[in-house]
């Protein structure tokens, strides 16, 4: 039994498919972050899922998928500002890494001055 089952949680969706669980999180969260399967939350729960695995923040609540072999996917919510902050920090690091690689360089270039300019390139 993982630590998640011993915490104070709310089940928002139960015994569903992983796809539906992911869509629920995407539609019902204030912020959505994507992690890879195996992402660790709390003390010892490793996220089971089909990439991209959505995790949500809704106020203080962390929304995440929880999969049980015999029961399917669940969407659970647990109050955890710490885990939400960890997701935000991870996202900031990803953006910084992208900037260092020059990922946003192209986007920073000025756009065409007119519709005709679009075809000059």
């Amino acid at each position: 039994m993982s630590c998640v089952e011993q915490m104070k949680y709310t089940i928002l969706l139960e015994k569903t498919s992983f796809r539906e669980a992911r869509e629920y999180i995407e539609k019902n969260s204030d912020e959505v972050y994507y992690v890879e399967p195996g992402y660790k939350i709390f003390k010892d729960y490793y996220i089971i899922g089909v990439p991209p695995v959505a995790m949500g923040a809704r106020g203080k609540e962390l929304l995440f998928t929880y999969v049980k072999p015999c029961y399917g996917a669940f969407v659970m919510a647990i109050d955890s500002e710490e885990e939400i902050e960890r997701l935000r920090e991870r996202e900031r690091e990803k953006i910084m890494a992208s900037l260092k690689k020059g990922g946003l360089k192209d986007k920073a270039e000025p756009g065409p001055a007119s519709f005709g300019d679009m075809w000059k390139k």
């Binding site: 796809r19 890879e36 195996g38 490793y46 089971i48 072999p69 015999c70 399917g72």
Partner: protein, 149 residues
């Protein structure tokens, strides 16, 4: 040469009878080919396995599924081959997880009455071994025998 190589059998929910039969069959086949086999599953699946094979003739090592995932993610262990048994969306999801966390050559062993539909949802890198089998293991056994290890 397979000596010293490791294989993992990931059992799904044990409610479909063919699973246990094929797990024992495949474990025996892999062991004879020189693989060190571990079968991982829920508490119920592991209990079914141990009662079916009380003297560990076919499966020498068993493990808790959550613990194996933890150990693979933390890079404490990995396998050369990984067979994920699935007859439901949850099983397919576990397959996707192993595809992401392990470097093993991955096989999706798909069975049950909705095997074809389920096989269509396996869009991650895995070799599919599929048969619409629930009670009779032979259609799945034939597919397993065609796998070149």
């Amino acid at each position: 040469m397979t000596q010293g190589k490791k294989a993992l059998l990931v059992m799904g929910c044990p409610e479909v009878p063919v699973q246990m039969s094929i797990v024992l069959y495949l474990s025996n086949k892999l062991s004879k080919a020189g693989y060190d086999v571990t079968a991982a599953g829920t508490d119920a699946a592991v209990k079914l396995l141990k009662v079916s094979d009380p003297e560990s003739h076919y499966v020498q090592k068993t493990a808790d599924l959550d613990q194996i995932i933890s150990d693979v993610v933390e890079k404490k262990i990995d396998f050369d081959l990984c067979f994920v048994f699935m007859h439901s969306d949850a099983g397919m999801t576990y397959g996707a997880t192993f595809s992401a966390i392990s470097k093993a050559r991955l096989f999706a062993v798909i069975f049950g009455k909705n095997a074809e539909e389920l096989a269509n949802t396996v869009d991650y890198p895995a070799e599919k071994i599929m048969a619409k089998a629930t009670h009779n293991p032979n259609p799945l056994k034939i597919k397993v025998d065609k796998v070149v290890l």
